[in-house]
Symmetry: C2
Subunit: 378 residues, 2 copies
Amino acid sequence: MVIPEENPVDASNSPLHLSDAERLDRLRLIRSENIGPRTFRSLLRHFGDARTAIAQLPDLARRGGAARAGRICSAEEALAELAANKRFGVSLLAPGEAFYPPRLAATDDAPPLLGVRGNLESLTRPMIAIVGSRNASGAGLKFAGVLAHELGEAGFVIASGLARGIDQAAHRASSASGTVAVLAGGHDRIYPPEHGDLLLDLLGAGAAISEMPLGHAPRARDFPRRNRLVSGTALGVVVVEAAQRSGSLITARIAAEQGREVFAVPGSPLDPRAAGTNDLIKQGATLITEAADVITAVAPIMERPLQLRETDDDEPFDFEPEVYDRTRIVNLLGPTPISLDDLIRLSSASPATVRVVLLELELAGRLQRHGGGLVSLI
Amino acid sequence: MVIPEENPVDASNSPLHLSDAERLDRLRLIRSENIGPRTFRSLLRHFGDARTAIAQLPDLARRGGAARAGRICSAEEALAELAANKRFGVSLLAPGEAFYPPRLAATDDAPPLLGVRGNLESLTRPMIAIVGSRNASGAGLKFAGVLAHELGEAGFVIASGLARGIDQAAHRASSASGTVAVLAGGHDRIYPPEHGDLLLDLLGAGAAISEMPLGHAPRARDFPRRNRLVSGTALGVVVVEAAQRSGSLITARIAAEQGREVFAVPGSPLDPRAAGTNDLIKQGATLITEAADVITAVAPIMERPLQLRETDDDEPFDFEPEVYDRTRIVNLLGPTPISLDDLIRLSSASPATVRVVLLELELAGRLQRHGGGLVSLI
């Protein structure tokens, strides 16, 4: 069995450290209406800092055809959130700051500010995510526990979603060695509520993370969104038991899109709780039956330096598109998703122009982004 | 689900049909001492017919250093075997004759004469082998039955080894649609003995095949040898349940060497009867959970024409090696297996010379052939 080295990833040699003022501005920007992690990242890249970006929001949204400007989070609201976080022991970290999970920081849609709580050192160690059915079998629960324990002994931190079933078994078995609970709601809105004690237990050696503000009760749509953080923090995701069309399979799909290893535990064809994991293996996931299988597969990945993904969105766009470009692009859009590439080709506009127009529409609340680079009008 | 076409393979447009005399000579040759299927094939290729080859045997064995000539099966013995076969309803077929399983005929070490019994048309239809533990779980037995039944409904004949457990379940569930029992002993020495009734049941729509003479009681070493016929007749082999280091895994290895598809049924890591099948999947076997998985995988193979494998052994060798070549080659051999390629390189003799010397040694009972083209002195 390979003993993993300390995670070789360090987002920078001199980690970022935000000033209080910049953290406040970034918090205002990410809590403003129609701003998601990707839009945040585009705005920050091109206006240089969050304060300048905030000042540009009304103008960008107006150009995007907003009936009214999107609501901007006030300094008072942001200060109140920071004060509440402090009382609750939650720190808000930006990608690149010390203790921000390095692999998560390298994803396209890393939370611009991640609320972290607990033993923050655990967030920088190599992680393996373990997920699976809430309604797991006894064998599945036992296997998840043994796997989490052995990976913990080998030096890995276990990431999971604090749900009932497999998540709970994985957290429980690694609470002494280090485990990270990735929350769908705010740090004070634990779901399911009866896992409050489990969370407190795991904060000693491990941590909890959330991109949501305190007080945010998780809604159904927050769970799939949260799942990108479960896989994003980790080298790979192990799916222990999953029926067909279950949430764990969404996590596996996101993990594959993020370039993470996807591992699945096989089961009898006669066991419906193994249908999802067997399907994953048919589709190319790695079959595992013990911790050594996982460790062998991730060892070479740990040796490679971690690269931040540069995307096309990082190109400059500090200009205002011509009206006729904007009209042509908007006319090409409709409720049916279309790819960015098709938009560029069909509009004959420059890629930068198309991206700016889409950003304006997004800030105006008129654009929906889908997987695979597809967009549609709302 | 794909409906399989009639097997497109036909070993020749005008199938071989041996004369009674040639069949008798071939039977004498294959029942003679130190003659296996590969040696038989070499001899027949190069002496043109079995009678000529038989006449050369003493000379070849003497050149190979035999203390005494290997025992040659007499015409009387061969006639007696043919008469007994006739009484028992067994026909002896040569590769290329009608009803010889076409895919088996294309293997390197196809039995020169295969004893067949039952509904011989079943031997020409596309086959899938189903194998697994004798000591199978209820779930494994159930799955084997469902799979065999569904593959049978889809037009496939099921090949297996008539053993207890998975074999029995697979034969039983396909006895109406067609199944082939591949025997390790003679047709009159069924093992296990209590499967005599199962055999009689399956002979209606299916068949039994054996390369052993009537009266041959199967020995332990006959079972691995028999397993190459189970996989050789089939497009692919499904391993349903197998513990580590079990016989079914030998069949899977032989199947892979023969270029057959290897399918494995997954199971829980906590179930020791799935350890072997899970390992097979880790090593590259295709995970299957239903008949459609098998059918989808073999459909493209069925569309390709079947090619007989030509091997290096088919090159001419109608010459007697020089004494010093023979000495040099024998000196390079010992109890540790060595590859044919290494022998050729180290001896500086021609490949044809090395092959003739090895054939002589084999006929002298001094050579052992191993997997992977390795040979050693006995």
